[in-house]
Symmetry: D2
Subunit: 326 residues, 4 copies
């Protein structure tokens, strides 16, 4: 199945992925993990939630940790280009028969809530509170020195359907994994902001969030995080890496919090702003697409993910042998 062609003039203009809200069962532990160890900056907190930003972000938050009994991903947020894009988006989602509602969100004002066809909860906005730059307050840098949120990666039970949906919104495929035997695509990476991806979909029981990712300047910051985590009681939270992805060419590490939510630390993909940038095809049988250097990922990495709020995942329509194949 061919990957979807880029849509040059989408119905509304999505600038980039922006933020997400995560349910965590122990807010104190989560603060130690995401703030003290990982290195995000707190921009607001009360007894129920912590709002965080990374070091070069000006928007108020990229990650909301929400206290809850059930670990879930409540919503994925995307920034729109201009005020009229909000109404255009609402209209478009309604036309697709998808649920649309308007909400007021702290630090963001009016936002549009909806879901994609698989049920992934989405929110769109134009303006978020802007904070003063801190990217040159070097004394604040610690942990892995996260610079900005980079992407969301989801399990989808029908990757081709997910890719087709987001292609309509102007997301362009940069790399993909084709399964020759089934003539289906196993995974796709799609972007709006000019890197390898804002979002990716991988075959599997879904929708579930596989991981969210932060950009760091340098592989050495990832080594620093590994050294700190492994000597302060977080060695069990290290899941996979460090390594180089074949796909995206980024240097990576995957870690997981106590609720199983997975974060990727991601360094140096490449620029993809050209609308005629040609996607790179990988074969499902090529093990180097996942780890250029050949080391296998653990079983948990292939199988486990975070549930989205109020959506039951369903099995993939592809016959998967996750350990052998991905």
């Amino acid at each position: 199945m061919p990957i979807p062609q880029p849509v040059l003039y989408p119905p509304f203009n999505i600038v980039r992925l922006s933020h997400m809200e995560l349910n965590v069962t122990d807010l104190d532990w989560a603060r130690q993990f995401y703030v003290d160890t990982f290195g995000l900056q707190v921009t607001f907190e009360d007894s129920n939630a912590i709002y965080l930003r990374a070091m070069e972000e000006r928007g108020h938050h990229c990650l909301i940790l929400q206290k809850s009994d059930s670990p879930r991903v409540n919503v994925l947020g995307f920034k729109l280009y201009d005020e009229p894009d909000l109404e255009k988006a609402a209209k478009w989602f309604e036309e697709q028969g998808l649920p649309v509602s308007w909400e007021e969100r702290p630090f963001m004002g009016k936002i549009l809530r909806t879901r994609d066809p698989m049920g992934i909860p989405l929110e769109f906005f134009v303006r978020m509170d802007l904070l003063k730059p801190i990217h040159q307050k070097y004394k604040l840098y610690h942990g892995v020195r996260p610079l900005r949120i980079d992407h969301f990666n989801m399990f989808s039970p029908d990757v081709d359907a997910s890719a087709a949906f987001y292609a309509q919104l102007g997301f362009r495929v940069t790399e993909y994994t084709a399964d020759e035997e089934t003539d289906r695509n196993w995974a796709v990476w799609m972007h709006r902001k000019g890197g390898v991806h804002d979002i990716a979909f991988t075959n599997g029981t879904g929708p579930r969030l596989h991981h969210f990712a932060f950009w760091v300047a340098n592989p050495l910051h990832i080594i620093d995080l590994l050294d700190v985590m492994s000597t302060t009681g977080y060695v069990e939270c290290i899941e996979r890496g460090p390594g180089r992805h074949g796909i995206s060419n980024a240097f990576f590490l995957y870690i997981r919090d106590r609720d199983g939510h997975r974060t990727e630390i991601y360094s140096s993909d490449y620029q993809t702003v050209d609308p005629d940038h040609e996607p790179i095809r990988w074969d499902l049988k090529d093990p180097q697409r996942q780890t250029l250097w050949g080391a296998p990922a653990p079983r948990s990495w292939f199988e486990e993910g975070s549930l989205f709020d109020s959506v039951d995942p369903r099995p993939s329509t592809l016959d998967a042998q996750p350990i052998v194949a991905p």
Copy 2:
């Protein structure tokens, strides 16, 4: 004087800076410098010209070295988003009373030639020949491991006028240096592609090219280049750095070829895709805006630049004391 407001819907869509053509007086020496030492890849060469690309670029070339008796910058190239943008651009430049012509260029097809109001020669195109990716052919990496062309920096005799012109084309200011005493802007950094800049203008006799820049992944590659240049006969070509810019926050090095053309090696600025990204203001009296760590730049860096083809530079309209002030 306030910096120009971002234009959200410009008359045509410029994706990014793309390439430039440079006259060099000794093509063999230039090949040793830009290919063997610096690390660009040759995509075409004959006895008169060498076409080069950096490691993650798919387009045929980002730099053309043209043999000539007089060192000049022949043209700065920009990529447009879609075919209709070419005609829109032609129409717009004509309406401004600026010269417009169509040419056929090797590896690019039809391009639009024009000049900005200061006389800087520009060319616009939609399609360039696409080459196979080499960013994972790691055996090819050498020198400073240049990944992509990042920006052009020009001396302008009237920075505010230059900024106003390019703002109309959708270039957005990310940082600027204000001169409180004259209520003028001393320098502006403007982008299309989502980084700190595609183009920048600094006060000085102009138009002249101050430098063009390549993006590298890591400060250590810059250290590698310094080690190689200083032990293979190029120590005189090292002009300034390494250091951290206050403006842009990038780690930098400036080198110059035998004809005086200046290249910046540039690592890690930050993402600016949001249309409401707020520009950072620097005061002309703050020495850290140039080098965060405080070391001064040499006089040559403030005063010398490359001539553009067929344009005589004129003095700045600002009373400048370049060594004291910039």
Copy 3:
């Protein structure tokens, strides 16, 4: 069993490990591996052997690749401090009833050949031909940028016996792995030159060489090597890593040549020149001693090694479950 106490005044003065001779079955392939890919410098070669040095070494060679039908380690070489040390060494080995002979070796002059009690072939010398420095010829650096040979690591069937023997020669223990259940030491790291080790012994069928190691300045050089190896046909030669050792605190990678000889690339242990430097004890049950970050080593790493010339390895005297225990 306690580790041996440091001997402050050994019978003769060993400065450091120096070099080794390796039998390889395909000299052309070995040249591509150790020279073109790994980055060692050829100092002599003919149709039967290649002599190599690393970038900061002044001695003629640290590694000799010898063409042969059977892959073996022919000898491990150590440098003595002064001429009289050679005679003192000969006398001492004779007193232990170990075989002693004198040979002339190219680029080294007179050397002393002997074996340790397990049968490991050793050679001692005072002077090797000195070559001009190349550590500032930065254009020569490539591959992993190896700076110097760092250590030998051997399987021993009786680690305590091996440690006791080398302790008499002034090797001092820096770290060790104790097996509480058997009151035996599972592994020891011993040095002469002021780092974590010149030699190490690990429990297993032996004597066999587990690996030899080269020092590099920086983890990023290891990442570079991984990128090059995995994109030029050597992905199968990557065995383990990259990672941080608990023991030694070094950043590491293990690779293997076509004959199974294993090289470690090793970066940044620590200074141990003080004679009262206290050894660090690790428990055999602590998985972080091997990889601080927790990732397990593959089975091959625990079980496979290179045979020494003319010595049949014998099983360990410890009841080992190598995969579970080490």
Copy 4:
């Protein structure tokens, strides 16, 4: 004048440089500088003094900050190999007609105080209190992540005399700067511990301490320190660098505290344990010996240094034009 030949069997065995005591006029400021900013660890403090160690050091301290009205260097400390070396040292210094006394020092027990012929105050000891390792307590690392004290560098009014004196004690020359016109040596680097130097002498009014140095693993830690210092009020304390030395090949940075005491941060020289390691000669006219990349050092770096306690410096016996020549 030829450099002194290495003395293979010195009258007593010095292991390495060990520590120093520095008078500072503002202990609070000094704590902010050396602890909070630079990254040393406090091992003891009271209202008059702060004892510090670097991250991989096991000895109780490498730097003592002593509150005082007059900024001075009180003493340079060296570790001896074994108890008898203390008596041998005392005897030898007495034989040279140099002052000898015994003292009790906190955390060190009995130490030997003396001076070299220029008047530099020295102390020798065998045992210092040993502390638990912290090199794998990665959460403690900050600032420039100093690993260990590396060397002392002194202005000497007669470099050849200083070199000849320390050569008798077994210090071996690794690199030196010769002044062809005067047939004198301008500077020498001498070691005991197997690196480029424990001590160095440079021509100038002396004795004065030019700087003391700490070893760091990586140039990026130096960049981190520069970023932190330049954004927390210490930009004036950055004196020279970053850069690569020709001599020693180390990546360096020089910073100064409020009293003018100068610290070098030093990364990656090379191993020199071989007694026949050949010294490298540099010509005084070669500017790359100081900075391989060609950038000049500021005048302060050539002229300013710290006074030693109770010694008046005297002018050099060489006709120096420090800015032009060094």
